[in-house]
Symmetry: D2
Subunit: 344 residues, 4 copies
């Protein structure tokens, strides 16, 4: 059986993780070329992964290699997502792109339009939590009716406080706490509730790290939202979690409640000492979702081989984007925002 | 040392619990008379507790017994709270009253006015969670600066689903889910955040038990609020908790997070069987807060003996009431409500 | 209904706790006299509890007050237990005595003989864990067949390491780690397994506090035992628990497993900070079993009033004593010991 | 860099898992030939893994392929372990062999003797728990002195009760509960305590599944052991765990305690329903140790490439074997057994 041949763009921290998975852990995948604007990263791909076809220019890579490739893997900066997807599609490539779909709604809608012209090509966005075994299991239990009708999702993404200086570096170019962090939670709420967000009210502030304020951002933000079937979702984005990276989600249904990851244990060890009984916590989202990133890549490759549509496509990405933008807009404008009004 | 002599009004389920505490478990207290409009309850007080002075009429009890009494204990229906407190104060009695202070703001403000005329008399409201050892301990840790500056409280009160038919009976005369249940959480948020609620946005619905809708009430409601120092609180009231009575609270601070009661264990037993590893849960708020109810009564009695002001007074009750009314109003009017606009 | 009139002997730490329960928390009990060889303790009983009849001599108290009393409460040092019980019985008093029954088997057997002459009098030993709601609940589940046939009990009593200097003071007159601590666990294993201990093999040592070795004692000891129905029990006594007083028990049955108290939480608070997610622990057995001590006293009083036999009588105390002595003997003699050989 | 070329023998359930890891997940490894006596398994290796060199006869494979191979992977039945290792060594191959080293001590000692002749060849036994991240982390904490001096290990291996019929099939040829299951725990106790087992006392029985008795085996067995530095270990082997595969270990040190895996969660999901708050459990050891099996194989390959000695060698395997045999002997002979007397 033929391997899925991949062009990978972006070799930063996440790009390298994706590259390692594709090269070393997925026999059905073959990375035939990579590109990065950073020479060290290109050297790394050459020396550590043994990749021979190396580019500094994204367009050049696609133009020269499209004939040998099946798919494009985009792990570039967010501002390059939309045009990267379009470039891939227009050159006949399936596309995997890290979330989010783009910066503003306008370019997201453009991607949506272009993608409609290539229905035979998969475009999937990196909503990695959908591939985490625990989140998948929760979804299965819900689909089996085990908790009755879900009516409230509470979901948070909180980064370890010690990583705040690192997050601050990205604050200038990022989309703010809600877009950077809670877009996953918005996607999950849509998935679990089977409904789209209708309106959002948000609050937040720089409670600890005032530096985020310099970029119009906050270190903590919370939102309450109503979905169009009348169900609700609560979101929290925090950059000050004292104990580690704590991403967790709760789904309340009429007959049962599911909690996913309510203690972000770093392993199976408990420590009993004069401070009490405790477990240490994972410090980064990658530690928490390492397995899911691999499963996500496997799923992408398998679906191309099997000719199946992706689990999370453009439409999902677009709605999650609109939701996250509504959260952000409510925070800034200090009023309730309707998702239907998010148009550009 | 003299005992604190008490008149107790109301002998329903909660009234009986309070009476048992005062009669059997607090040597410094003496219940000298009780009143109830239900003959069976009066018989119970006579036969089980051995109380000799029994009344069917509240005013008559106060008028005849005020000379022998130090304090009044009000466990009557909510619509009798305000006038009961006023009656007690005007007859020179310290007053303990179950929450809430009243039905509407107008009568609450009236109580506030009257109470100012009797600064030497204690009026305390039954915000029992403040007396729970775990909530007290959390407050101590916060006051010691152990979690830095608190900026977000998430607090919920959820009744066991099997008690919904019971709750439904009270729905007609109750104040709705937020006022009946979350008034405790509003008080706790004020206590932990050291700030007053400024604005609230709520959503909710009858997701399972449509009967609540007949009284303009819901079976689940959630709210996000902003406090006047910029901090936030999230509240959840639910009448459909599948596992038991689950009251819990989380306080996020800039340097630490506290979780209180995040698994409502009914005891210290864990059961390992084919369903997994599990613990059973408490089914009612009384099971959860039994110790706190006793400590609350002891505190009331001790403060009268020691001439000390109560921990939770009229002003606290008034602000919690305003907050809960704002939550309710936002739910009904489908818009953000400002607490400063809650005037009647 | 008449109150149960009690003579209480011994006003040390535990004696005071028992006295407070009987005086302040059990309306059906009345402490009519106390004795202690320590003047301060007598003063405490007089001033704090308001007891009027005060003795320094145990025999004198019993002789003078037996006519007015129904029962004797013994919280004296262990070497006074056996003769105290006999004195009480021979003067027509029901007896509650803290565990253990005595120091050596000989005096325990003597108590057993005397008690047979007074079948109408209750003698109950302070196996307080049987009154703990969690232990009771576990026993109920077992009796209902919920875990099938129990075949292995793992039970430990471990004191907080910081209390080791305090424990060391008692080491000279105590019976060693197994007798002082695991006698409770032996009793529980008998109760849960419905069988008597047949043989025991123990190991142990002074792993941290060598001072215990000066008295032929150890700071940690473990034992594996076989019961006469073929079931098993494992016991651990530790004086070096780093996190607090950790008494817990596990019962393995053919269809289910019960764990009681596997995390000795001090309250419902969880702390999330840079050390991870943790709960603090109770530091003393009294904190853990405070409620059980009260329930135990209530049960003692109620059974006298109702003319019912005690839950834990002489025979239970004798068998637990034999078991604990077998554990100790195996540790010292470095060989397996048969309980049937424990005769003196 | 050259790949480590591997001959793999045995393609049963475990053999297939090992084969998948080596072929698909470890780029530095290459399986150049496999053998199995089962045609279906050979077909599976050919069709699913694409292996071209396929054998039914182990000796033939080694004889024909030794020139192209670096290492031998033995996942055969236990009775073939010793001779397989010897065959590999004598043909110049590094050897990985699933535990245990053999059936009786005699053949284990023979392997030890042969291995001494080939000091340049690695022989490692599959003590997979040493590669589990949680067990490794615990060992690191201990080596850093975080819990002081370890003095007691409690360690259990318990299979899900529903797998008992499956286990029963292997009972005839297996070494009994202690050898089949607790040999891992014995190895861990040696590792954590830094000492060798000196004596053992065991009890056990067929409490639920009498069929094990037909082979002189039991369904549950417990042992208490003394190690030669005076420390202790408790072991439990159970084939009747009601909730799942529950392998866990506790290490008590003079300053801290570590618990590894005390709740065998199957994922990060908690379920709140009328049974309480629960998590489901892993059902098999493979689910629990899937990651460790991969890390173990990676370590084996890496050490060959790097010319490093294995973590767990013949000597470890021999001492664990002696310990497990001592446990078994004590159970059968109903007396304490000294490890120094285990000679054949």
């Amino acid at each position: 059986m033929e391997k899925v041949r991949i062009l990978l763009a972006g070799l930063g921290r996440m790009g390298q993780s994706h590259a390692i998975n594709l090269v070393n852990k997925i026999p059905q995948a073959e990375v035939i070329a990579v590109c990065s604007i950073v020479q060290d990263e290109i050297d790394w791909a050459k020396n550590v992964l043994g990749i021979k076809s190396l580019y500094k220019n994204f367009d050049q890579m696609v133009d020269e290699k499209k004939g040998e490739a099946d798919a494009l893997y985009l792990v570039t900066s967010t501002d390059q997502h939309a045009r990267g997807i379009i470039k891939g599609l227009e050159n006949g490539l399936h596309v995997f792109c890290e979330k989010p779909l783009g910066i503003d709604i306008k370019e997201c809608l453009e991607v949506e339009q272009v993608s409609k012209k290539f229905p035979e090509l998969n475009v999937t966005l990196g909503f990695v939590r959908r591939f985490d075994p625990s989140y998948k299991y929760a979804k299965e239990l819900i689909d089996q009716g085990k908790i009755g009708k879900p009516f409230l999702v509470k979901s948070q993404t909180t980064d370890d406080d010690t990583t705040a200086p690192f997050q601050l570096k990205f604050a200038k170019t990022g989309g703010g706490a809600f877009l950077d962090m809670n877009i996953h939670d918005v996607d999950l709420a849509r998935w679990f509730l089977g409904s789209e967000m209708e309106q959002a009210t948000s609050y937040g502030g720089c409670y600890k790290h005032e530096g985020f304020g310099d970029f119009g951002d906050v270190d903590n933000a919370a939102a309450l939202t109503r979905f169009d079937n009348g169900s609700m979702a609560f979101f929290l984005a925090s950059r000050t979690a004292p104990h580690g990276h704590d991403t967790h989600t709760q789904i309340l249904g009429t007959n049962g409640i599911l909690r996913i990851g309510h203690n972000p244990r770093n392993n199976h060890v408990e420590i009993l000492d004069p401070t009490g009984v405790r477990n240490e916590c994972v410090k980064t989202f990658y530690e928490r979702f390492e397995e899911a990133f691999l499963l996500e890549a496997i799923d992408f490759v398998d679906r191309i081989k099997d000719g199946k549509a992706p689990i999370v496509g453009i439409q999902d990405a677009l709605m999650a984007q609109k939701g996250a933008i509504a959260l952000t807009k409510s925070l800034k404008e200090r009023k309730t925002v309707y998702v239907k009004d998010i148009k550009e």
